[in-house]
């Protein structure tokens, strides 16, 4: 518990939190517009991680360069999933949607296990071990890139939503579905579009995460609960919230681990989660209560 450990721990927490933010951005968009909690989010992350892995191991494409490939590919996957499966099977009922996404998670996770086996896959990249010396802490290069990327992606998403016509349509649907329909906006299309964007975002997160981590069929689960916490903490539907929430969560987790030990430090996350749900369910930046 020495003070000289606090600074590097906080910095480590920030870079880890950036990864949480990246994973959570897609989730918060989907909740903000479709009002569904996507249990398949972690599975989609895992799928994207495998995609990035195979692009590297089979085709030799660097993960960061794979972003322009997996991003659009997963956008399509997300669009089709929402339009073709989730939207149809759930008949619009909230409880059913949760379960349909749960079913999807089951399918994706287990097909991954069947096709790719339980082996851990990692990328051994030359720059993965390089670190940036900040004096008070050593930041591995992939983590630093993740931090920058989180800011960039959050910014981009916000720009799209705030400055483009598409963004306006999305915001309209999020605020008032029936009204949007009445003015001629194709709500189903917008829903699917948002789900697609959300999935694309998670694919970007995967490309950025893999150099610093590994992939197995279970890896999605490791991140999904934290992603939920980030979204709730930051406010469902808010990008700034997901960003700040993720960073905050990363720091809380790191400091919790430092002071209480890793195992108990996990409680810090959930304790925070519960507290936010109880006392401020709209989160830090949220606008709409459930």
């Amino acid at each position: 518990m020495s003070f000289s450990l606090v600074a590097p721990t906080v910095i480590n927490g920030l870079t880890m939190g950036a990864i949480y933010a990246l994973v959570a951005l897609g989730l918060t968009l989907v909740y903000g517009v479709l009002h569904i909690i996507n249990f398949a989010h972690g599975s989609l992350l895992m799928l994207a991680l495998y995609a990035v892995y195979f692009l590297h191991s089979q085709v030799g494409i660097d993960p960061y360069l794979a972003i322009p490939i997996v991003g659009p590919a997963f956008f399509v996957i997300g669009y089709v999933l929402q339009r073709g499966v989730i939207g149809r099977a759930s008949h619009g009922r909230e409880q059913t949607v949760l379960l349909v996404t749960l079913g999807l998670a089951l399918i994706i996770d287990n097909l991954a296990l069947y096709f790719w086996s339980a082996d851990t896959r990692t990328l051994d990249l030359a720059y993965a071990f390089e670190t940036i010396d900040l004096g008070v802490a050593l930041v591995p290069v992939p983590r630093a890139i993740a931090f920058a990327a989180a800011l960039l992606v959050a910014g981009l998403l916000w720009l799209v939503l705030d400055r483009t016509d598409l963004g306006k349509a999305i915001r309209a649907v999020a605020k008032e579905r029936q009204g949007a329909r009445l003015v001629g906006i194709n709500v189903d299309h917008i829903h699917a579009l948002c789900f697609g964007i959300g999935t694309a975002t998670v694919a970007v997160a995967a490309a950025i995460l893999l150099p610093a981590f590994y992939v197995t069929p279970q890896v999605g689960y490791t991140f999904v609960l934290v992603a939920f916490t980030t979204v709730v903490l930051g406010g469902m539907g808010s990008f700034a919230g997901a960003l700040v929430g993720g960073l905050l969560l990363g720091v809380v987790e790191a400091l919790g681990g430092l002071w209480f030990g890793e195992s108990l430090g996990e409680i810090a996350i959930f304790g925070l989660f519960i507290l936010v749900l109880l006392f401020r369910p709209t989160g830090l930046f949220g606008t709409k209560a459930a």
Partner: protein, 336 residues
């Protein structure tokens, strides 16, 4: 989904499809221990019954009350751990431990209910907070020496009445069947009692129920406490049957998901739904295993497909089969 049982409108002397099904179920379940010889299948049916009890506990809160909990393992696990800890650490007689464990489960339910409902959590938020609580319990169980930490607890194998361990596996089956009977009795009571009526009322329209003078908070609290106690009894059964417990089993997502799947597939807010759902799911699970030849993962993937299929085409669950199936034309027409 209005849970009017057909018997409410049909004369008691007529054998409706629902009644026929109920009779068939009773006969089958009673016959199992006499007909089934293989210990594997006996365990299969015992576990199915356990799932039915757990499902019914969820049903009380989620089906009749409309509050979907995604963390029912919190109650299941508390019952399981309490029974194990009392026996292993404090040498308490198993029968006393069982009763106390159910009490602990009820307390957990009341505590979580008080926090959640006091702050007005419902819908997805309530689902998420129950999930979070289950995870917190799991982490505590991992870190606390009393629960044996990550290593878990082993209850010594010692058959006898005082240890609530049956020599013959069939004993467990009868015990599980008794629990199922109790749980069904509870649901039936809910359907006929005033408390049950209040519960359903607040599920249908909370504001209107409140306007009618129903104490929303108290009713919800009562429902979650009852639900937790029943879930805890399932936990106690688990401990007595397997004699081994660890945080992942007790508080992991496995039993939380098992708790809600049965009722949803079978039909929430109905007396027989959880039982039918549990039986269907377990049988379908075996079918999936057989169909995929045991390749790792394929059977669960198949299972996920079945789940989505049932959700898509049978929104009322299996008990709604009489009410009509959503055929593919409805699939195309429905709006997300």
């Amino acid at each position: 989904m209005v849970p009017t049982s057909p018997s409410a409108v049909v004369s008691n002397r007529v054998m409706t499809p629902h009644r026929l099904l109920a009779v068939l179920l009773v006969v089958t379940l009673l016959a199992v221990p006499f007909v089934v010889q293989s210990s594997f299948w006996l365990t299969f049916w015992t576990m199915t019954l356990l799932a039915a009890v757990l499902g019914q506990s969820w049903n009380i809160l989620g089906g009749y009350g409309g509050q979907s909990s995604f963390g029912h393992a919190a109650f299941f696990g508390t019952g399981a751990y309490a029974a194990a800890i009392l026996q292993v650490r404090f040498g308490v007689d198993a029968r006393l431990a069982a009763i106390a464990a159910i009490g602990f489960g009820a307390i957990a339910g009341a505590a979580i209910g008080m926090l959640s409902f006091r702050y007005g959590l419902r819908g997805s938020y309530f689902a998420l907070v129950t999930m979070a609580f289950a995870e917190v319990f799991r982490i505590i169980a991992v870190a606390w020496p009393l629960t044996g930490g990550g290593a878990g607890l082993n209850v010594p194998l010692h058959a006898g009445a005082a240890t609530l361990q049956f020599v013959d596996r069939r004993g467990y089956y009868w015990a599980a069947l008794a629990l199922v009977a109790i749980s069904i009795g509870l649901a039936a009571w809910l359907e006929r009692s005033r408390f049950g009526a209040w519960l359903v009322a607040l599920r249908e329209n909370e504001a209107a129920a409140q306007a009618l003078g129903i104490n929303i908070f108290r009713v919800k609290l009562g429902a979650i406490t009852l639900s937790a106690a029943l879930a805890a009894s399932a936990g106690v059964f688990y401990t007595q049957y397997f004699l081994y417990l660890d945080p992942g089993i007790a508080y992991g997502p496995g039993y939380s998901i098992e708790a809600l799947l049965g009722p949803i597939i079978g039909g929430t807010g109905t007396v027989l739904g959880p039982l039918i759902g549990a039986i269907s799911l377990h049988l379908l699970g075996r079918l999936a295993t057989a169909a995929t030849g045991g390749a790792p993962g394929l059977d669960l993937a198949f299972y996920g497909v079945l789940l989505i299929g049932i959700l898509a085409f049978l929104p009322r669950g299996l008990t709604g089969l009489g009410a009509g199936v959503n055929w593919p034309s409805a699939w195309r027409r429905s709006r997300g």
